[in-house]
Amino acid sequence: MLTSRFERNRFVGAKIINVQSYGADIKIFEFECKLKAKPGQFIMLWLPGIGERPFSPTKTNPLELAVKKRGLFTKKMFELKVGDCVGIRGPYGKGFKYENVKHACLVAGGIGIAALVRLAETLSNNGAMVDFVYGVRKRDQLVFLERIEKVAELFVSTEDGSFGKKGTCIELLKRLLASKRYDCIYCCGPEPMMVQVLALCKHYNIKSQFSLERRMKCAVGICGHCALGSKLVCKDGPVFSGKTLASIREFMVHE
């Protein structure tokens, strides 16, 4: 067997072929590299000399990643230019489940959009009706609006009121839930926001799936660093059902 259980985890080289900036702290990178990944799965990106971090592909052919500047790693990423080469391994983890979902609501907070944009497209291709709630701090952090509008009804909130509804996506979601019924709510964003969305889903008795983020080291289920209770985010997740999350004490107390 040419690709053993181990070898398929080796880095492939990925050259940057395009970089777009959105405001001061979001960049979208396109790589000369393609892979097969289900919406919700993640890859590990390696910057030699800096480290390795998980990211959700926002496109797979060619590979595209949306990156928000946060710590040292993403700061270094922001220095990358077209022609620079990074290492990619993956995909890893379990993606979203979307079979049999006819009415879906996606809720993205900030850069959580990266995990959901492909899901919206996939759901729509499968014939589902998709509402997309998207909340950011300010207007220049909004990405993929055109892509989303093609496949979903989009509801945007900004905390400073510079675009869409002033406030948070939780308020927008509450309004939708007051009048609409969904088969499933999909969510990715800061954990306190996801905790609130989970509470709403419970209140309305709607199925839900959440994409979680943890600092990953091995991504192959051996080191244990990404554990959430007795679940491994890299193997059992990063997508978890609301039902599973509700039973994990460590999710509720995070941050």
Binding site: R5, C218, G224, E250
Partner: protein, 303 residues
């Protein structure tokens, strides 16, 4: 099939042990391996102080296994004493693991671990990729190992396992010295090497620490040979590990002379259920070949 095994008087429902360093950071981690069917669980090695370890990438892959260089990333002794104070959620024995740069610090750790409900305490002196620890602290030296075991022996009556490195030319001497100084079992082996994997696209070593310990299928023949030799020389039992992921590998280790068999990298290959799967394969093979107990297999290759 009854797969009962025992090591230093500790009864195991099966001979498979979760090796130190994988899914052993805390109790929640260990519960995953317990659910997977392990007969005993070893915690990730604890050092006196908390360590954040080496930067990522901590793992590199090649066709026959894994290199890792986590650099003893762990919560440190005081947090560990809290985390592992109550082990009542476990139905299998838990082995403590701790490591240090010198005999005095080893003894401090063992003295603290003695007060917990660990069934045994494992002391790795064999990590090939952490400065000031294991091989990089010169713990391949027989005198150093003797001093470590002597110092630790004073601090506990619990069984002490010395974890050695099968890649050393003097591994038998080390094991014999440990046995004489009061060690109760030898765990063989830690990761071998260190080795290196270079990414040819970027022309850079993959691991941030550049080198890492080699584990998985590639090292199994070396480890089997080491266990075979240790069995000829030692009176104390051996815990064999290195590249085990199938029932047949477990049988091979037992036949070489191991009384129990550890798994680390096998979890990557088959998930945390690797323990249950190995047990099933082991049972089936024993039945088909007319073996009635694990005991009968131990050292069978020496006849």
């Amino acid at each position: 099939m009854d797969l009962q095994a025992s090591i230093c008087g500790i009864k195991l429902k099966n001979p498979l042990v979760l090796a130190s360093g994988v899914l052993g950071l805390n109790k929640n981690n260990l519960l995953i391996a317990q659910r997977g069917g392990a007969g005993a669980l070893t915690i990730k090695s604890i050092t006196l102080e908390k360590r954040s370890g080496h930067d990522t990438p901590n793992v590199a892959f090649f066709e026959a296994g894994v290199l890792n260089a986590f650099g003893y990333c762990n919560m440190g002794l005081s947090a560990a004493l809290e985390e592992f104070a109550d082990l009542s959620c476990f139905s299998v024995p838990i082995f403590g693991s701790c490591t240090a740069s010198n005999a005095r610090d080893f003894a401090k750790l063992v003295s603290a671990f003695d007060k917990l409900d660990f069934a045994a305490i494992e002391l790795p002196v064999s990590c090939p990729h952490t400065p000031s620890y294991g091989l990089l602290a010169g713990q391949s030296n027989v005198e150093k190992v003797r001093a470590i075991i002597k110092a630790c022996r004073k601090e506990t009556k619990k069984p002490i396992f010395l974890k050695i490195n099968a890649g050393l030319p003097n591994f038998v001497e080390i094991a014999l010295a440990a046995e004489k100084a009061g060690a109760d079992a030898i765990t063989c082996s830690n990761t071998l090497g260190p080795g290196m994997v270079i990414d040819i696209n970027t022309a850079k070593p993959v691991l941030s620490f550049k080198v890492g310990g080699v584990s998985g299928p590639a090292i199994r023949p070396m480890v089997v040979r080491a266990i075979y030799e240790l069995y000829e020389h030692l009176k104390i039992p051996i815990i064999g590990l290195g590249g085990v992921s199938q029932g047949e590998h477990v049988i091979e280790m037992l036949m070489a002379g191991a009384s129990a068999v550890g798994i680390a990298t096998g979890i990557l290959q088959r998930g945390p259920c690797v323990f249950r799967k190995c047990c099933e394969e082991l049972s089936r093979w024993m039945k088909e070949h007319g073996y009635g107990s694990i005991e009968e297999l131990i050292g069978f290759a020496h006849q």
